[in-house]
């Protein structure tokens, strides 16, 4: 076959070119970056294009319910020490977006690819990855994604027999269940604040026991594996027991966990933790998340939280009271159209903060906060909320499309 000498067949080259043309048209028409439409056109012309594009790369896949975009950035930054990297850094994480991203990086050595959790098994089959990072799994958009436990089951089936090194969070029982069908797993004790999707043993259905940081099933032998890497406060512990300091511009415990997983991935490709972690400092805002912007003379920090686990991690990183907090929730297609999940978020954690509420579903939030016994104000717009907010940097927490709306309005 000609594959070894000529990286892409004429058909694949044509598909890449057509995809780029479609993306350019889409950009010109003001319809976004064009990466998804470009990828769609290219995949239609050559359905195996994704696999072919990946053939010449060391591919690393990153999947999770939360933190996959940020972790993809952190890994891409770390692996830059070992060679050029191509990545779907904008979060277009389904096959079309991934194809488009890979088509843009003909000189790259590494492909660091964020994958939507529903597509992981298929993409892992198509691109023969060298490594797969699995961070966490929890309830998200249940009206369209289906059951979280079934998702773990699909990961498990899709990854059994994979030749990839799986870098998996030992503290999330669903992730451990999904990864433990693979022969080659590197366990990272990355933590997981949210526990409410794993009280029932994914193996036998027994009730899970969770003393301290440990967990095990009371009925079968399923238990937390011994990790070789760990997040310990502000340090990453490597398999030799050395502690490496984490210096990030990104806030919060969850991002330290993402850095720990990223360091473990980088080590698979020979990048030492010290080098990997130093490079991660370069990562600032990721697609606008964690960005601090000025709006109406005030500082606003923009935080994305899409589901109960994400809100929980976000509450733990915001400035303490009396910093004002602005919450915005929508329930459009990309958010999931059911707002019931708001009741799985413990809003009493916001006690003491002045709270302002906006977004399409501000009234759902209002009832939620009223029942939590909190004081809050419902506003029509972000402008109104910012005008009413007392002094201090405003922590803005929003779910997916609400976050996009906010970015457009506050201009970052």
């Amino acid at each position: 076959m000609s594959g070894n000498t000529d990286p892409l067949s004429p058909r694949a080259k044509l598909a890449v070119t057509a995809g780029k043309a479609a993306a350019a048209v889409s950009r010109a028409a003001g319809r976004g970056s064009g990466s998804v439409i470009g990828g769609r056109v290219a995949l239609k012309l050559d359905p195996e294009l994704l696999g072919r594009l990946a053939q010449h790369l060391d591919v690393i896949l990153v999947s999770a319910t939360n933190g996959k975009t940020t972790t993809t950035r952190l890994i891409a930054e770390a692996l830059g020490a070992a060679g050029p990297v191509v990545s779907n850094a904008l979060g277009a994480n389904m096959p079309a977006g991934i194809t488009s991203a890979l088509a843009g990086g003909s000189d790259a050595k590494f492909g660091v690819i964020e994958v939507d959790e529903k597509y992981l098994a298929g993409v892992a089959r198509d691109v023969a990855p060298k490594a797969i990072a699995l961070l966490n799994l929890s309830r998200d958009q249940l009206d369209r994604a289906g059951e979280t436990r079934m998702l773990a089951e699909r990961w498990r089936e899709g990854l059994s027999g994979s030749k990839a090194v799986i870098i998996a969070n030992a503290d999330d029982p669903l992730v451990v269940w999904a990864a433990s069908s693979s022969p080659n797993v590197v366990w990272v004790a990355a933590g997981q604040e949210w526990k409410d999707d794993a009280w029932s043993c994914p193996s036998c259905g027994g009730v899970m026991q969770r003393p301290g940081d440990d967990w095990f099933c009371g009925e079968c032998g399923f238990r937390r594996p011994a990790p070789s890497w760990a997040l310990s406060g502000d340090h990453v512990l490597d398999p030799h027991g050395s502690a490496w300091p984490i210096h990030l511009q990104l806030p919060g415990r969850a991002n330290k966990a993402n850095a720990a997983s990223s360091a473990a991935v980088a080590a698979v490709f020979g990048v030492p933790p010290q080098v990997a972690l130093e490079r991660m400092y370069q990562v600032q805002a990721v697609a606008g998340r964690y960005d601090v912007v000025q709006f109406q003379g005030r500082d606003l920090r923009l935080l994305l939280a899409k589901n109960p686990a994400g809100w929980l991690e976000t509450f733990s990183l915001i400035d303490p009271p009396p910093s004002p907090v602005l919450l915005s929730v929508n329930a459009r297609g990309a958010d999931g159209t059911d707002t019931s999940w708001l009741w799985d978020v413990d809003y009493t954690r916001l006690a003491g903060h002045p709270i302002f509420v906006i977004g399409d579903r501000k009234l759902d939030l209002a009832v939620r906060l009223e029942v939590a016994g909190l004081d809050f104000r419902v506003c029509e717009t972000v402008d109104e909320a910012v005008q009413l907010a007392p002094p201090g940097r405003i922590e803005v927490i929003a779910n997916y499309t609400a976050f996009q709306d906010l970015r457009r309005r506050v201009g970052n």
């Binding site: 059951e147 029932s200 059911d338 999940w341 009741w343 009223e370």
Partner: protein
């Protein structure tokens, strides 16, 4: 109600708390406290016995395998049946609703016995999952305003002669039987497919549970401003073309 406090039991949050239905517990608790009641809340995991001395029992929705496990453990435990036999109020949602009936189809595709507290039998629909906003008229004798909620289920629930439909849908599927019924109830046991959570969308149902538990006809008024605003918005959204 014993002593001076209302005992609210949240059944099996480890298995049946996937769709935000713990909001129902929070709403009952809040509205009871606003009326000056003391509330003791018991969250009972599926490896613990269900206490029989509760006043109100709440059960939520869950995934298919946890639903089977919950039915097995509740049958073995017997506490919920004994409590209902003592006259306790039971309010259930989705997977929990199916468990209160005579039987449902479990994750293995087999008929799974329920607790028989409601005269209903559930099967699994062949067509598309029922997902979306629901609007309905609550059964007349209950004297409550319109039902609003969000459904997300594959189940179809058929009512027997001693169960009354909780509501008739104007929009959405409800029980999925095609006859427009949604949910079921008898004297003190209620079942519904509505999430939202349903008691946040319909605080009058929470008050009904409180009145039944306290054996009173009326409660002091509560501040319903935000509930009413949310209800108006959701009912308007359900009745307007998209």
């Amino acid at each position: 109600m014993s002593d001076n406090s209302l005992r609210v039991v949240w059944v099996y949050p480890d298995l049946l708390s996937t769709y935000g239905d713990q909001g129902n517990v929070l709403v009952v608790e809040r509205r009871a406290r606003q009326r000056g009641l003391q509330v003791e809340r018991y969250d009972v995991r599926s490896d613990q016995p269900v206490p029989t001395s509760g006043d109100i029992y709440l059960i939520g929705g869950g995934e298919d395998r946890p639903q089977r496990l919950a039915a097995e453990r509740l049958r073995r435990d017997g506490g919920l049946n004994r409590a209902a036999g003592n006259g306790a109020i039971v309010f259930s949602v989705c997977a929990g609703y199916q468990i209160l009936g005579h039987e449902f189809i479990n994750d293995l595709g087999e008929r799974e016995p329920g607790l028989g507290l409601l005269d209903v039998v559930s099967t699994r629909g062949e067509g598309a999952r029922c997902v979306g906003d629901v609007l309905g008229d609550i059964d007349g004798p209950l004297g409550l305003p319109q039902l609003t909620g969000f459904e997300n289920h594959q189940g179809i629930t058929h009512l027997g002669p001693s169960a009354r439909p909780l509501a008739r849908v104007r929009l959405g599927q409800g029980n999925g039987t095609g006859d427009g019924t949604e949910g079921a109830y008898n004297d003190a046991v209620f079942g519904t497919y509505m999430h939202g959570p349903v008691l946040a969308r319909n605080p009058q149902i929470a008050d009904l549970l409180l009145k039944l538990a306290l054996d009173v006809n009326a409660l002091p008024p509560a501040d319903d401003r935000w509930y009413e605003a949310l209800r108006d918005e959701r009912i308007a959204a359900a009745t307007q073309p998209a």
